[in-house]
């Protein structure tokens, strides 16, 4: 179909602001941003110690030299991150379900969940990583993995699950009571009510909050470097120790930024969609 044969598009609604009215504020902000950041850059680079700082931290040659090993380490970080995310999403949901259970028979699960969340949330992640990453391999129990990578990952999953479980729980509590009444009136069991009515709504409610946790975890996987896992931070430190140049750490930082900034934007996007959905429903 040729362009000519199409019906003419309806005239676009005329914007009230003229081109000039929209262009001038944009120009002003562009100029002012350039000037302010330019001045700041000028001040920093003209500082007395700038050449040394540049050599130590922003040495392109050093960044290039360190990059392959740091990047390999970074892939380890991201692998741990992805696997941990999946494990946390599941384990935290199990904890949240345990915590929501009613009835005397299931009370032990509920108590377990409450204790777990209280204890784990009260312990610094670093301490968990040290405990699991050094402690359990040192027991040399046959049949159990002995790598710091595995147990460090377990520590991250344990720690983050406690937070994620509370997030899930808030989502479950936000589901209206009428939904439970409807499910019960239809004859659904307690578990079926959870499975078909509450959890799907709860997950949708808390997706933005869970994604925030995912962004935090994306950086916290670097904690595994303290138990000898050769991740991006560890590799960067090794390079630094050999060359007394810190540019490799900057390389690692850039890699983390390249991963976390898109994640943060995605979280913003999901949160905005969620807001719109809620707004539509209330209107």
């Amino acid at each position: 179909m040729s362009i000519e044969s199409r019906a003419p598009a309806p005239p676009a609604p005329r914007s009230k602001a003229s081109f000039r009215e929209r262009f001038i504020p944009f120009l002003i902000s562009a100029v002012s941003v350039t000037v302010v950041f330019g001045l700041a850059a000028r001040v920093v680079t003209s500082a007395q110690h700038w050449p040394r700082i540049k050599l130590q931290f922003f040495n392109l040659e050093a960044i290039q030299a360190a990059f392959p090993t740091v990047f390999r380490g970074f892939l380890t970080n991201m692998t741990v991150w992805v696997i941990a995310l999946v494990a946390i999403a599941i384990w935290a949901l199990v904890l949240a379900i345990f915590r929501s259970l009613n009835g005397p028979v299931l009370a032990p699960l509920k108590v377990f969940s409450i204790l777990y969340i209280d204890l784990i949330r009260g312990i610094p992640s670093l301490l968990l990583v040290l405990l699991f990453g050094f402690g359990i391999p040192a027991l040399q129990i046959p049949g159990l993995p002995r790598t710091g990578l595995f147990w460090g990952g377990v520590a991250m999953v344990m720690g983050y699950s406690a937070y994620a479980a509370e997030v899930y729980r808030s989502g479950m509590e936000a589901v209206h009571d009428g939904q439970r009444a409807a499910a019960k009136a239809l004859g659904l069991s307690q578990w079926q009510t959870m499975r078909y009515a509450i959890i799907p709504q709860a997950v949708r409610n808390v997706l933005p909050a869970l994604l925030n946790l995912a962004v935090a975890l994306q950086k916290d996987v670097a904690l595994l470097s303290v138990i000898g896992v050769r991740d991006a931070v560890r590799e960067a430190q090794i390079y630094t120790a050999r060359t007394f140049n810190y540019s490799s750490l900057i390389a690692a930082a850039l890699l983390f930024l390249a991963a976390t900034i898109p994640m943060a934007r995605l979280t913003d996007y999901v949160a905005r969609k969620d807001q719109e959905r809620r707004f539509q429903r209330t209107v």
């Binding site: 209206h176 009428g178 409807a182 009136a185 239809l186 709504q201």
Partner: protein, 248 residues
């Protein structure tokens, strides 16, 4: 034959007495309307019948078997036979209309998906909801949502349907469509207990109207009698207020 027999049911919410030794029988194919001010115990009475809330004393019988009997404890037989529709519809917002309706038949009563969906589509068509099977509740009007909620309650083929102020949340122009399908259900012989503020509708559809106050049934009579010539002074007062509000 008595479908439902409520015998001396008493319920407290904490210290509050909400049902005070209520007796009520509902025969097969009978439609009983419960009227009364907010807080008189109408909705609580409905919720006792299908055990959404527990009660403290008395017994409720379904076909002469206590609803606390073991026969009702397993397989959710009670909820299959007694359906309820709520004022706020309470449809599942994350499921489309068809899934809302087929959830209980499939997951609770073990009907295979194809059969459940066929029955659901027939019910939808019967109640003028053709073409909405794939829609999500939030895309429907309040009246349509309430009709879907009624279809959902009917999908398990209950013997008794309880309606809890099903038109109270609807815009006036949407009420008619919902009341129409309730009338159709009456014509099909459905046994119903209806809590309503629509006195005209109660007069039209009910075989018997009960006036509740303070957790007691103060007066119980055929609609023409109770709504036109009430005996109890409290009933007279209540109806007078309704007339003054222009609702009769």
């Amino acid at each position: 034959m008595q479908r439902i027999r409520i015998d001396n049911v008493t319920k407290y919410y904490g210290e509050n007495l909400v049902l005070d030794a209520v007796d009520l029988d509902v025969g097969e194919h009978e439609v009983v309307c419960l009227i009364g001010a907010s807080g008189s115990g109408k909705s609580t009475l409905l919720r006792c019948v299908n055990k959404l809330v527990p009660f403290d004393h008395g017994t409720i019988y379904l076909d002469d078997i206590s609803i606390d009997d073991d026969r009702f404890k397993f397989g959710n037989e009670l909820h299959k036979r007694v359906g309820i529709v709520f004022q706020a519809y309470n449809l599942f917002p994350h499921m489309n209309v068809l899934d809302n309706i087929t959830l209980a038949p499939r997951k609770v009563h073990g009907v295979v998906r194809a059969t459940a969906e066929k029955q659901a589509l027939e019910l939808l068509s019967m109640f003028g909801l053709d073409g909405y099977a794939g829609s999500f509740p939030e895309r429907l009007s309040g009246g349509q949502q309430q009709r879907v909620a009624i279809v959902r309650a009917l999908a398990t083929q209950p013997d008794v349907l309880m309606l809890d102020e099903v038109t109270a949340a609807l815009d006036p122009e949407l009420i008619g469509g919902v009341l129409k399908i309730i009338r159709e259900l009456k014509d099909k012989g459905m046994t119903m207990i209806i809590v309503t503020h629509e006195m005209g509708f109660a007069r039209d559809v009910a075989d018997r109207v009960c006036f509740l106050e303070g957790g007691r049934i103060l007066e119980e009579a055929p609609p023409d009698k109770l709504l036109s010539r009430p005996e109890h002074p409290r009933t007279q007062q209540f109806l007078q207020r309704i007339i003054e509000a222009g609702r009769l």
